[in-house]
């Protein structure tokens, strides 16, 4: 139930922000559409804690700020190496351990790894994440485990 409500609010916001037309007609169509979508989605069985991570919402902004900083920094590195040429690269493949408990946490961790250029999560099976990185240093940074800790903390909140 909690997830349905959060989803409906999300959908309503999505519509209202997109629409820009607030006549009675359109609004009633909006409500009808949301009801239809909810029915379909329930039938598909895709509304659950995985799809609606409401429990993470409080801590998320802080994490995303930190992530943005990381993204900018790693972007700069990668761009530098693009112009430096292939000799400067040291591509590496490693397997890391994700310490998160829930699937959601692991997914956030893996996505964050991919989102920061220079590292890509290749595969995620169980709690092992296979990571490819452009530089040796990237891996060292990941292995130090800061991102892992932050994601774990994010998930531990609920």
């Amino acid at each position: 139930m909690r997830h349905t409500i959060s989803l409906s609010i999300g959908l309503l916001l999505f519509w209202l922000l997109n629409s820009g037309h607030y006549t009675l007609m359109i609004l009633s169509l909006c409500v009808v559409s949301i009801v239809i979508v909810l029915t379909i989605v329930h039938k598909m069985d895709v509304v659950d804690h995985e799809a609606q991570p409401v429990h993470l919402s409080r801590k998320f902004p802080a994490y995303s700020l930190w992530l943005s900083k990381e993204i900018v920094l790693s972007n700069v590195t990668v761009v530098k190496h693009i112009w430096l040429g292939n000799e400067s690269l040291s591509p590496t493949l490693t397997t890391l351990k994700a310490s998160q408990i829930t699937d959601m946490g692991k997914v956030i961790y893996a996505s964050s790894i991919t989102l920061t250029p220079g590292t890509i999560a290749l595969d995620l099976v169980g709690d092992r994440i296979m990571v490819h990185s452009l530089l040796r240093d990237n891996i060292t940074a990941l292995e130090s485990g800061e991102m892992d800790r932050r994601v774990s903390r994010l998930e531990a909140q609920c």
Binding site: N18, C30, V41, K43, M44, S111
Partner: protein
């Protein structure tokens, strides 16, 4: 083969960008979802089913080249007398079009002229278009449908679990996305009056959400969620809605598809009529796209199982 299909997808994307430059936003919208989306997707499916190998040897393409050369020259010759590109006083902009541009706002109440021409002035063309898509759906159904045995639930469950393991990230992200894509389809459906969009685009987007679901959760699960005969009937209902709007306007004393007689106020009638027929278009397009995709996927499954048995 993949490269060829992908290049054609890229061509779709490129031409869609070109349509934006040429101010044809509605067309760009459609081309994006069709040229780059659905048709590439269908081609990929077909390539996957027919194999990627190809003969390199070709008999002499001189004849082909000659034909193409002659046609090309004829066309170039034909363009010589055409008004220059973009010239505002070309005859095409003079005769019929000004009425659409100047009066459609008063006559139909739609800010989007493309929608008003599409749905009202040339509503019958659009009816034909819906019928074309319906025909394609029926044709694919007739060509590709297979008789299936029932699958056990347990089988689907195990398949689901393995999917869950294998595609964790994809699964979660897509679960989050699907409701929004669906709602977006409805949004596009109902905002066709004001901006680019309308029934056709909405139908394609809706279908793409379902396709995404099928891709990730497998055909078995999807079949349980989406009742095939219901979808087929829905595609028929879409055409019928459109036709019935026309019939009702005949009964109300207008001519076929004359929406003005649907309500006391001509503008309100136009609005109602366009809303309804767009709904019909959306219904048919979405369900036909889903049918087509399902039939391709099922056929694929069928071929695989047949091959599995024979070897």
């Amino acid at each position: 083969m993949f490269a060829v299909v992908m290049l054609s997808g890229i061509y779709g994307l490129l031409s869609a960008s070109f349509f934006v430059v040429m101010d044809a936003v509605d067309v760009a919208f459609t081309e994006a979802s069709v040229g780059a989306g659905i048709s590439t997707l269908l081609m990929l499916t077909a390539v996957a089913m027919t194999g990627r190998t190809e003969h390199v040897t070709r008999h002499k393409p001189y004849l082909a080249f000659a034909v193409v050369f002659v046609t090309g020259c004829l066309l170039i010759y034909g363009t010589l007398d055409m008004p220059y590109f973009g010239s505002p006083d070309a005859p095409s902009h003079q005769h019929v079009a000004p009425r659409y541009i100047n009066d459609s706002m008063q006559e139909t109440g739609m800010p989007n002229m493309v929608t008003s021409v599409l749905a009202s002035y040339r509503g019958f063309d659009t009816f034909g278009e819906v019928t074309v898509i319906f025909t394609a759906g029926i044709g694919v159904l007739a060509l590709l449908s297979v008789v299936r045995g029932r699958e056990s639930d347990a089988e689907i469950e195990t398949l689901n679990d393995s999917m869950h393991e294998q595609y964790l990230i994809l699964r979660i992200v897509i679960k989050m996305l699907i409701p929004f894509i669906l709602l977006y389809a409805f949004y596009v459906q109902f905002h066709g009056d004001f901006g680019p969009g309308g029934g056709f685009q909405a139908g394609v987007i809706f279908a793409s959400a379902i396709i995404l679901y099928v891709m990730l959760f497998g055909l078995g699960t999807a079949r349980r969620v989406i009742n095939q005969s219901f979808i087929q009937i829905l595609s028929a209902i879409g055409v019928l809605i459109y036709g019935c709007v026309g019939l009702v306007s005949i009964l109300n004393g207008g001519s076929f598809l004359d929406y003005s007689v649907l309500s006391d106020d001509a503008l309100a009638g136009q609005h109602l009529g366009i809303l309804l027929i767009e709904l019909g278009v959306g219904c048919t397009v979405a369900s036909v796209m889903i049918i087509i995709f399902f039939k391709f996927a099922e056929r694929n499954e069928y071929i695989q199982s047949k091959n599995g048995k024979s070897t």
